[in-house]
């Protein structure tokens, strides 16, 4: 049963008005392009080119390094300048292919397909070959998601159109400007699951999208639009499944265990491009926004472009930013250097003139229980954070610390400004590492 919402959650200032009404603008990249070999969950891609090779737009330059992996394509034409470690948004150094852009944009030929005439296997193969991964942030290879053990048990294919992170408007623009591609992409995915119905799950703060898409799917028997209550983190996979279907899954389960497949807007459009047009994943929409940017807006970006170029396209900085975040303010990564490439999972670049975190000081916990109230994972964040700080791994796991989805609601709401999510997050990493080492 659809609940259209979930228990817990918060309502932060959404900041979407800054960039919401700015149409997508295509940026022509200049200079070097950097393609990290790990832009997804799973094995890094394996380079297929070497230094000095000439590459074309749409040419595969790195192949998948395993089943859970994804290939990477050049988005410009030019020569491979180097293959070596480069800094990425998370701060890590990741092996990358660097291409010297010759500015000609010579492109390979693509073969389009009629999705109706393709076998299921062929569809999945096309998606796999195109390097499509979850573009909402996690970067889980889409072909893996679309290949559950028992595809006939999938009853829902949910298009995650919630975009619950504050400031982000990239999915919104995609829905407004290319709604048909989204619907067609969803139809392609539905071809894979005979018993599934498609749901476009949209937060009700986007009534124009709801209206537009409802009109488009009016004659689609298998697709419906569902308006969800606007609340962060409505777009979190588990909360979204619950809101749409009333089914709960825990951290050790897959959406498929609840008969669901969940894909984000941009991912579904990428599926459409991959299958119908035969085009690999080369572009994505990035929202460049925040009060430090001159002209906040949405860009149609070639993956591999430098973040500095995005800022430049957005008119540069109005005021010096204190904090620059890749992604939204609740779950994004704070950057210490803007000299990093855009990747398949880069949804936004948020530049803030004020860092609310360093301006506040941690006080003692007064046990107010606000973190418990907002926690969508229904754990007790303040106690888990204490256990994490004491490095009490056993108690942490026994008290469901691993069920935390790191959404950040507890840290956001805490009146004592305690770093709850942060403590829990690092403890979760420790536990996962220890488990890996034991194996």
């Amino acid at each position: 049963m659809a609940r259209l919402t979930f228990r817990g959650g918060v309502h932060p200032y959404d900041g979407k008005d800054l960039s919401k009404d700015k149409p997508m603008k295509t940026i022509i990249p200049k200079g070097d392009m950097v393609y990290p070999l790990s832009q997804h969950i799973g094995a890094p891609a394996v380079p297929m080119v070497k230094k000095g090779d000439r590459v074309l737009v749409g040419q595969k330059i790195a192949d998948a390094g395993g089943f859970v992996s994804a290939p990477i394509y050049a988005t410009v034409s030019g020569t491979v300048k180097a293959i070596g470690p480069r800094r990425v948004v998370t701060g890590d150094m990741v092996n990358s292919i660097i291409v010297d852009n010759d500015g000609l944009f010579e492109e390979v030929e693509y073969t389009s397909h009629n999705p109706e005439k393709l076998e299921k296997k062929e569809i999945i193969e096309l998606i796999k070959e195109a390097g499509v991964v979850g573009m909402g942030g996690a970067g889980f290879p889409t072909h893996v998601k679309l290949s559950p053990k028992e595809p006939e048990k999938i009853t829902y294919v949910i298009a995650n159109c919630a975009e619950c992170e504050p400031y982000l408007t990239s999915d919104y623009r995609r829905m407004i400007e290319e709604p048909q591609k989204l619907v067609d992409g969803l139809k392609i995915i539905l071809r894979l699951f005979d018993n599934a119905q498609g749901v476009l799950a949209i937060e009700d703060n986007k009534p124009d999208c709801i209206e537009l898409l409802s009109g488009l799917v009016a004659n689609e028997e298998r697709i419906t639009v569902k308006a969800l209550k606007t609340k962060y983190p409505q777009g979190a996979e588990r909360q979204l499944i619950y809101a749409v279907t009333g089914r709960e899954i825990n951290s050790s389960m897959l959406p498929a265990d609840a008969g669901c497949v969940v894909d984000n807007v941009d991912t579904i459009v990428a599926v459409y491009h991959a299958v119908a047009e035969g085009k690999p994943l080369m572009n994505r929409i990035v929202t460049v926004t925040g009060d430090a940017v001159n002209e906040p807006r949405n860009f149609y970006v070639k993956i591999g472009m430098n973040y500095n170029d995005l800022i430049e396209e957005a008119g540069g900085f109005k005021t010096e930013p204190q904090k620059v975040i890749s992604g939204g303010p609740m779950m994004g990564f704070a950057l210490f250097d803007l000299n990093v490439p855009t990747t398949k999972t880069a949804s936004a670049l948020l530049c803030l003139t004020k860092d609310e975190v360093s301006e506040t000081e941690e006080g003692p916990c007064i046990n107010c229980g606000r973190c418990v109230e907002v926690c969508p994972g229904r754990v007790v964040p303040s106690r888990l954070a204490d256990m994490a700080r004491r490095h009490d791994e056993e108690a942490f796991v026994a008290n469901d610390g691993m069920e935390c989805c790191e959404c950040g609601c507890c840290s956001y709401i805490c009146p004592a400004k305690r770093q709850l999510t942060q403590s829990i997050k690092s403890m979760r990493k420790t536990v996962l590492n220890n488990r890996k080492n034991k194996k």
Partner: protein
């Protein structure tokens, strides 16, 4: 870029809520009851409030200095315990009672256990019970210019004399400084409910379970006036909305808060009906405070999706 970017783990934004703001609201919410108490009982009540609050603030300040502790939390949280204690004192009590109580509340109940957020029982109530045991005659003498000594609950218990329910609701009866006026207390409670500082889980389960207990065991059956007087009398309203809801000393889990409230209702009923004293709220609450860790242990929320079965994540 000239300056250095700040880096931290997510989330990068914070809500406007702050501990100091919450404490400020709680103190503001106590003002109607305080002002009514001073108006009702006169100069000594005013002096008691001032002395007790000053004592708690000063004691905490000195303690922090001696222990070389840094305390970033401001004066509202320091004065809250003092104000609550003062409201629980008889209006004619000598000022040194306020001083001793204030020092006990801060040093013994609060600071020795780690200060704000660490105390295992409500400091004001801990101090009140300490004073009740140590200075029983002073703490139970409610005689003052306006009223004879008997509190409405004592009258109700002994059956001698009469008190009007309307007087109890307005507050013109004998009692501690802050407990007499139901209207003033509910005004403050409404403010806390509207601002989201407290919710109804603890107060409601407390009051409802107390009423149920009375219906079952008072021997008066469904006597509306008797029940209303029990509710309006003594420290029940002040206790239910301002002391049982104290964040630090109530369970953090939702179900735990219901259990806690019900426990308080039953204990208050037992103390009031079967105990030697007419009053029982203070003891019920500090007893409840001690059970909080146990209650929390058995009311741990079920994590989202827990117990659901499915193939393990690859």
């Amino acid at each position: 870029m000239a300056s250095i970017l700040k880096v931290s783990s997510n989330p990068h934004i914070r809500s406007k809520a702050s501990t100091e703001r919450i404490m400020q609201y709680v103190v503001i919410a106590l003002l109607p009851a305080t002002l009514f108490g001073i108006f009702n009982f006169g100069l000594n009540a005013l002096l008691l409030v001032l002395v007790t609050v000053a004592t708690t603030v000063l004691t905490e300040y000195i303690y922090d200095r001696c222990m070389k502790k840094k305390n970033s939390i401001g004066d509202f949280s320091r004065s809250f315990s003092g104000l609550l204690l003062a409201l629980n004192l008889p209006p004619k009590a000598p000022l040194w009672i306020g001083i001793i109580g204030g020092v006990f509340a801060i040093v013994v109940v609060k600071m020795l256990f780690g200060g704000l957020g660490q105390n295992f029982m409500n400091p004001a109530l801990g101090a009140r019970c300490f004073l009740m045991i140590s200075f029983t005659s002073i703490m139970t003498n409610f005689e003052c210019d306006a009223y004879t000594g008997a509190t409405p609950l004592a009258v109700l218990k002994s059956g001698e004399g009469a008190v009007k329910l309307s007087d109890m609701i307005i507050g013109s009866t004998a009692g501690t400084i802050g407990e007499t006026s139901v209207i003033a207390i509910l005004l403050g409670a409404a403010f806390l409910l509207i601002t989201g500082v407290i919710d109804l889980k603890v107060p409601c389960s407390y009051i409802v379970s107390f009423v149920v207990f009375l219906l079952l065991f008072s021997g008066k059956g469904f006597d509306i006036e008797y029940i209303a007087m029990q509710l309006a009398g003594g420290g029940l309203m002040l206790g239910a909305f301002f002391m049982a809801t104290d964040y630090v000393t109530r369970p953090i889990t939702k179900n735990g808060q219901y259990v806690f409230g019900i426990f308080l209702g039953i204990m208050t009923g037992i103390f009031r009906l079967f105990g030697p004293s007419a009053e029982g709220v203070s003891y019920a609450i500090i007893l409840g405070n001690l059970l909080v860790p146990l209650i929390e242990r058995f009311t741990k929320p079920t994590a989202f999706g827990k117990g659901k079965k499915g193939g393990a994540r690859a």
